[in-house]
Symmetry: none
Subunit: 129 residues, 4 copies
């Protein structure tokens, strides 16, 4: 389910971070669930264990995973909420900066609003499927 593109410019450990977050967001892993061990995912994705470890450590620092040494990594109780909160704040920032640049480039407000509406329409369809 989780996959990795070794030719991408986004680092593998970041792809793993994003992938795990996505799987928690979608509900594949729920709070309290144990996720695949470092070694398991390492062989599954054909990626060095150190790289997986780096991703898991970062997710632990973000409060999304907890490590039980000798037992494995577990999804924290508030993982889903944290992910949504973190995503919202960082993507709002990105969206605003992009909108400013579009405004500066002379793109009319209505065109940008329409772009947003289309995204949300497609999103709704996607969720209905």
């Amino acid at each position: 389910m989780l996959s990795v593109d070794i030719f991408s410019r986004v680092p593998i450990y970041q792809q793993v971070i994003d992938g795990i977050k996505d799987q928690i967001r979608i509900g594949i892993y729920k709070q309290g669930d144990q996720i695949p061990s470092i070694r398991e995912l390492s062989v599954g994705l054909n990626v060095n264990p150190n790289t997986i470890s780096k991703a898991y450590l970062e997710l632990e620092r973000s409060g999304i995973l907890s490590a039980a040494i000798g037992k494995g990594y577990y999804v924290t109780p508030d993982a889903q909420e944290r992910i949504n909160r973190m995503t919202a704040s960082s993507e709002k920032e990105t969206l605003q900066v992009a909108a400013e640049k579009l405004a500066n480039a002379g793109i009319p407000e209505e065109e940008v609003l329409e772009l947003i509406r289309q995204v949300y329409q497609n999103q709704t369809r996607g969720n209905q499927t």
Copy 2:
């Protein structure tokens, strides 16, 4: 006016590219104008000349600057138009991706539309100044 942050994750040569583009967009440099020499900017920004050169070459490849060998770099006639076109297409992409993630994180459409409207309102005020 142009400045550089050595601690930023965006490479210095990219910061220079963005800075020059901004100055052309704002009208500080107009078509046909000569921009600061590599040496000048290198000293002014305390940046390695090779780094400035890399930025200027990239801007030349984009058709925003043209090099007069031995005389310096000049703003092309269609620089402003090119900049706006390039910005529009890349920032639309960025904006859409951000909007999708916000939709996934449960942010309602109206909240995102409102964000856009605020950006455009501030933008208008800013331009009036």
Copy 3:
């Protein structure tokens, strides 16, 4: 009463050691008392029996428990005294090191002394309850 946190950085066997010591200190187990069997505690805490065994062996080595083979573990006559002696010497060391670092960080002596006084005040209240 005794509990264990699998996400703590302090190893589970150490948490068990500390927990048993605390229960003896408080008087829940007195000299000569039999403590829960390895199997019992293992089930109660949802911890691997080997881990409990490791803790009990360590407590036996410290002279706090004695094993009656086939019959279980018992609190030694001088358990309480040993615990207090061991705690005193190791915590004095910890306290001194912490005080040195606080001095280095510029925390005034009086502030640290006050901290100690507060701890002892709360302690007294706690014991009266």
Copy 4:
């Protein structure tokens, strides 16, 4: 000046973190200073570059260092203040916990206070030298 004990139970990267913090606290490195490069310190301490890198990344996350990619690591403007603040809060916690355990073990308040006073006396002498 900075040194590392490979037989210590405290991880090498943690020793490096503590060592750099100490050097900043003492004033060997001041705000804005560049610290030794990863490779430099790696050969100097005979430690793998990855281990040094781990320490520097952690110090960056704590706001004590900033990385300028391609240039090196620099001490942040508020490094000293952060170090003192972080030390104070964590060591106060340690000190309180130790004091509680000493109180529980029956060590009289006056004995603990005296311990603190001695630490501060030695500290003063040390600073006078």
